[in-house]
Amino acid sequence: MENDALLNSLQTSFPDAACAIGSDWPEIDIDGSDLLTLIQKLRYDEQWTFDYLFCETCVDWKTHFTMVYHLSSTKHRHSVVLKAKLDHDKPQIESLVGFYKTADMLEREVYDLMGIEFLNHPDLRRLLLTEDWVGYPLRKDYEDPINMIRL
């Protein structure tokens, strides 16, 4: 589906969600609690079949976090971006491991570097850093006087 058609179909199906065309693909701003129901539809509905999660990451906006999911369909070859706003003090969101197996490692990485807690993740451990690392390096307020480069 082309971006415009995709946007239309998304808008009609999810009237509550804020849909817009981003720089490349349609973007949907969602509430963290709606994630699973939305993904359920996007993943298994025949008209979308977003079966391929090609990027899952998080952006620290200082006041809040935004989880960004890039979904694509290997069947229809269209893509969509989901954005979920998270609370800065206690960032929590449902895990997507049940839908995409790649989410396992991607979420562990986000947990490791951003400190987002993924609910119902089967194996939420530090991935890149050691278990006893203090802090989450990709957060904007993270300071490491030894290792950090400042320009």
Partner: protein, 371 residues
């Protein structure tokens, strides 16, 4: 004095493969649970070469951050740079001159060839055939020589700048690339004779590390590893960038989904890359090799995503800009990271010796996984 060998409650032996191990080709650490010789579970423990490139990029300018990515997947360093440059160009809406685009594509394909040749040699070496490595390096050396002459570096090229390439091609470039193509075409048959047709090699790789198409999608496996499972995922074909839409080439697909299929995909991809270079090498357009850009680049506020096909699969660059001179947040979706996540699924139930046959065909580059 005599220490107990550690086992799991069910009596399986837990063995550390890596961080220093000859077949992980880098500092990958795999915690393997073994029942006799059979692998019960595999837990990748990564991060030994994590340099937090994403965090580093947040304090580097749009011109500088491109070059840190050479150190991610060092075997396709040019393609990493290319992806970053494309992202910056997308943000600034720079028109890249035709000549620069063609040069970028030729260098990309040469890099892919060099990467696949190294993979071929090291995979054969992992499986115990030590000689193919030297045959692969004979041809790879010609490519690195071309690279050296073009931009001064042999591996981490740093040849791309936003808006084009750093300097024009060397006058000998076309001649040398053609000489390489002649040499490569005369030797590819030798590669197949030596390894592909070998009965031991085929027995070691056929039916090993099965990955179905559905699993490949679910695990986000891309590149030759996924194309061996019949998943069409070549970004050059699906979402063409640079001049790829004007070129004639095939996306190599194998349907078996085993190690041998992944091996064949890469072998045939080399021939496709040569054909791409052949199409371009005589048709490098004249003109500028670099677009005029401002000294200090400032991307507009927004988010930009670029997908590119490296030698290992799909590299995604997700760049968030706040309108300043440095990226606000960068995320590299590295192909190796997702490919590694499928390793446990692929290796379960196989023998210890199959680990190298499966890992070899995933073509993991550890700095690419750790970033």
């Amino acid at each position: 004095m005599h220490q107990e060998i550690k086992t799991t409650p069910s009596g399986d032996m837990v063995i550390n493969v890596g961080p220093q191990h000859p077949s992980t080709h880098g500092v990958l650490h795999l915690l393997i649970t073994l029942n006799g010789e059979t692998i019960v579970n595999l837990d990748p423990n990564i991060g030994y070469i994590h340099r937090s490139i994403e965090k580093m990029c947040e304090s580097l300018s749009y011109r500088q951050f491109i070059y840190t990515t050479s150190r991610m997947d060092y075997l396709s360093s040019h393609m990493n740079n290319h992806a970053c440059a494309l992202t910056v160009e997308k943000g600034l809406q720079i028109e890249v001159p035709e000549r620069a685009e063609v040069i970028r594509v030729i260098i990309s394909e040469l890099t892919r060839l060099a990467s696949h040749q190294l993979w071929w040699g090291s995979m054969a070496m992992d499986l115990g055939a030590l000689s193919p490595f030297f045959y692969a390096f004979r041809e790879r050396e010609m490519i690195t020589d071309i690279m050296e002459e073009t931009c001064g570096a042999r591996l981490t090229m740093n040849y791309v700048v936003p808006g084009g390439v750093m300097m024009d091609l060397h006058p000998d470039f076309q001649k040398k690339v053609k000489a390489f193509i002649v040499q490569f075409k005369s030797k590819i048959g030798e590669y197949h004779d030596l390894v592909t047709g070998n009965i031991i090699f085929q027995n070691r790789t056929k039916g090993i590390g099965m990955l179905s198409k559905e699993d490949a999608i679910s695990y986000g496996v891309t590149g030759p590893a996924a194309r061996g499972s019949g998943l069409s995922c070549d970004i050059r074909k699906l979402y063409p960038y640079a001049t790829y839409q004007k070129l004639q080439f095939n996306e190599i697909l194998e349907t078996a989904g085993d190690s041998f299929a992944r091996y064949m995909v890469r072998m045939r991809e080399m021939e496709e890359s040569v054909s791409i270079i052949e199409q371009l090498i005589d048709n490098i357009p004249e003109g500028e090799f670099q677009a005029k850009t401002k000294a200090v680049l400032k991307l507009p506020k927004g988010e930009f995503y670029t997908r590119i096909e490296t030698a290992r699969g799909e590299l995604g660059v997700y760049l968030v800009s706040e309108g300043g001179t440095t990226p606000y947040r960068i995320k590299f979706r590295s192909p190796g990271f997702s490919n590694l996540s499928a390793l446990n699924h692929m290796i379960k139930g196989h023998k210890m010796g199959d680990l190298v046959a499966v890992m070899g065909t995933l073509d993991l580059v550890i700095p690419d996984i750790d970033r």
